[in-house]
């Protein structure tokens, strides 16, 4: 184990894969000379050369599209959007090309590309740099979507994503980049796609969540424990594929469910999980499944407003008590 930040853990995972497989290359705005705006890849360009660490122009549609074809040709591109919000200018390459090409060619081709997508609220960047758009990616069959919430998961999932034969969207939370944690150094370490992690065991309620909200849920769980409420925290880590078995196991134990994410509520993936639980696990439920998310607004700039745009640990604790009538 080595203690490192989430951003360095992303870098460590990509580094191992680049050493292991010369088909892996990095491309995006400011990934090379600068080493990525969040410092993930400092020194990579010097080590691997400008052919494998490519500074792109500000042409998101162009370079993401080129990654789709490079992946079809056998390369393993790791591309990044500086912010997940920028998917709006490169929707076609990801949603129509990366996601659909395998099916539309009758399985002739695979598209093993990774798209890194920094997301999340809290950096006072306002409405064009702060959204959490995981539901948008999950909506498109053909894409896999992961959202690591710890440095270890960040490393393990980016490695699994690079090794996977499908396009994988890696949703990284910007407010986690500076957080430190213990990260396995074994180069064979990965976190398999579609494997949730129960980070707090409990019996009264299941909080199903991911990314930074999983850490907030743990804070809430620890606080509620002192009040005699036993909370289970299921950090999904992967959204597609979804670890349904883990959800079934937890819900069947606690019979109460709170789903927590930073998304806008309407059309959220939190809502999708809620629907699936209602459809398939209704008999297990002692109370309605609740979603705790951001409101249906644009990410505001002013700190006093932005802080109301995503659930905090106290909000989570309050929602748990509401569900349990405590």
């Amino acid at each position: 184990m080595k203690r490192m930040t989430y951003s360095k853990a992303i870098g460590a995972g990509v580094h191992e894969e680049m050493v292991r497989n010369d088909k892996v290359f990095l491309i995006g705005e400011d990934v090379g000379v600068m080493g990525n705006v969040f410092g993930c890849f400092i020194g990579f360009r010097d080590e691997f050369g400008p052919q494998r660490v490519i500074d792109s122009p500000i042409s998101e549609e162009g370079f993401t599209s080129m990654c789709v074809a490079a992946a079809m040709r056998g390369m393993r591109p790791v591309a990044e959007l500086m912010y997940n919000d920028f998917i709006t200018v490169c929707g076609d390459p990801i949603f129509n090309q990366a996601a659909k090409t395998r099916y539309m060619t009758g399985g002739q081709v695979k598209v093993p590309m990774v798209l890194r997508l920094p997301m999340g609220s809290g950096r006072r960047n306002a409405g064009h740099h702060s959204q959490s758009l995981e539901a948008l990616f999950c909506h498109f069959p053909g894409l896999k979507v992961v959202a690591p919430g710890t440095p270890a998961d960040a490393k393990g999932l980016i490695k699994a994503a690079i090794e996977d034969d499908d396009p994988v969207m890696v949703m990284e939370h910007k407010l986690l980049y500076a957080k430190k944690g213990d990260v396995p150094e074994d180069e064979d370490f990965i976190v398999p796609l579609g494997k949730a992690n129960v980070t707090r065991e409990g019996t009264d309620i299941s909080i199903i969540t991911w990314s930074r909200e999983a850490r907030f849920a743990e804070e809430a769980a620890d606080k509620l424990k002192a009040e005699g409420i036993s909370v289970e925290v299921v950090d999904l880590r992967s959204l597609v594929p979804l670890d349904w078995d883990a959800i079934v196991k937890s819900v069947s134990k606690t019979h109460n469910v709170l789903i927590v994410s930073e998304e806008t509520k309407r059309g959220s993936y939190a809502g999708e999980i809620s629907a699936q639980i209602n459809e398939d696990l209704y008999d297990e439920l002692d109370s309605p499944v609740l979603r705790l998310t951001g409101p249906n607004i644009i990410s505001p700039f002013s700190p006093v407003l932005e802080d109301l745009n995503f659930p905090h640990p106290d909000d989570i604790a309050k929602a748990v008590k509401q569900i349990l009538n405590k």
Binding site: F25, Q51, R52, S56, P57, S59, E61, G62, F63, T64, S65, M66, C67, V68, A69, A70, M72, R73, G74, M75, D92, P93, N96, Q97, T101, R102, Y103, M104, T105, G106, G107, Q108, V109, K110, P112, P141, G142, K144, D164, D165, D166, L193, G194, V240, P241, L242, W244, Q276
Partner: protein, 336 residues
């Protein structure tokens, strides 16, 4: 033996017959497809390239086996010119299990990645510009010496991705050729009404790349231009844009009466019919009309058989509905 001499090369009767054969096979495929569509044998829409055969045959004759290409919703001709099996192509139009994409792609998406170096046929206008540039990037990174030819129509050059990718390809000196078939219309919109330059290839100059416009009804002119472009791209000098001015006999889709075109359009087109032109050339070099007729008859027979094969082929098993969405963990990813 007679030869055709141009500024760039010499052509034997056999070579001209080769072009002619490809062109009549494309037209026959398209005519057969149109016939099936009209009879209600095909679902959806089909987009035909009748009239554009010289462009397609000329461009693909210049492409080597090791090279790659991608095409558009109007891609039957490119596939035939590249050597696709008309049976499997027609079966895809019919939505049959024996089609190139097992019936999951249809007319707009005929492709054979492994066999033909095809990187897909795209229903999104302009998307192939990024796909072809990305394949050229892969070739450069892998050092594999292949060139990628992106084929698309005039109107796609007004998408932003055209400019994004031409800039990157020129900056990074990617082995890329873009082959534009300019028929003058994007569905109903005449290109000059929405575009400020009479030729589209001039846009290459904005990125310090190469560009040329040729007569797309002249198979030799197209072949020579694309050959030069491919040689240029392969030598590491960067991308090359070849624009072929063509006439397309049908409107945007099969059955479109194309009322938006002046009636002179088709009069001019028929005067320059590419198959008539190449036939004359072949006869000048010593071919007989009987010889040409026999090739035409063989093409028609081949396409009759393709239709029969497609018609008799089974539809995909409904068991395949949920397959091939993902390369790994497909069942779980599709289930939830």
């Amino acid at each position: 033996m007679k030869e055709l001499a141009t500024k760039k090369g010499k052509y034997t009767k056999e070579q001209i017959i080769g072009f002619y054969t490809t062109m009549v096979r494309i037209r026959s495929f398209e005519n057969h497809a149109a016939d099936c569509f009209t009879k209600g044998m095909l679902a959806g829409n089909i987009h035909l390239s009748i009239g554009q055969e010289a462009a397609e045959a000329g461009a693909f004759a210049a492409l080597e086996k090791r090279d790659y290409f991608c095409t558009t919703h109007r891609g039957h001709g490119h596939a035939i010119a590249r050597g696709a099996d008309p049976k499997k192509a027609m079966a895809e139009l019919f939505g049959k299990a024996t089609g190139y994409c097992k019936g999951k792609g249809g007319s707009m998406h005929i492709t054979d990645i492994e066999g033909l170096g095809a990187l897909g046929a795209n229903g999104i206008v302009g998307a192939g510009q990024g796909i072809s540039a990305g394949s050229a990037l892969a070739s450069k990174l892998m050092g594999d010496d292949s060139v990628t030819m992106g084929c698309f129509g005039d109107s796609s050059t007004n998408q932003g991705i055209f400019h994004e990718c031409l800039n990157m390809a020129a900056t990074w000196k990617l082995p890329l050729v873009w082959f534009i078939e300019n028929n003058g219309y994007g569905v109903s919109t005449a290109i000059e009404r929405v575009t400020n330059t009479p030729n589209l290839s001039c846009r290459a100059a904005a990125y310090d790349a190469q560009g040329v416009t040729v007569d797309g009804t002249d198979v030799i002119e197209v072949y020579e231009a694309v050959k030069k472009a491919i040689d240029w791209a392969r030598s590491g000098k960067g991308p090359y844009v070849v624009e072929a001015k063509v006439y397309r006999y049908q409107g945007h889709y099969c059955g479109d009466p194309a009322n938006y075109r002046p009636k002179e359009y088709m009069e001019e087109a028929l005067k320059k019919d590419p198959i008539d032109k190449v036939s004359k050339l072949a006869i000048e070099l010593g071919a007989t009309q009987e010889e040409l007729d026999a090739i035409q008859a063989a093409a028609d027979k081949e396409m009759d058989e393709a239709v029969e094969y497609a018609d008799k082929s089974p539809y995909p098993s409904t068991d395949t509905l949920l397959t091939d969405v993902y390369a790994s963990d497909n069942e779980r990813c599709v289930a939830r």
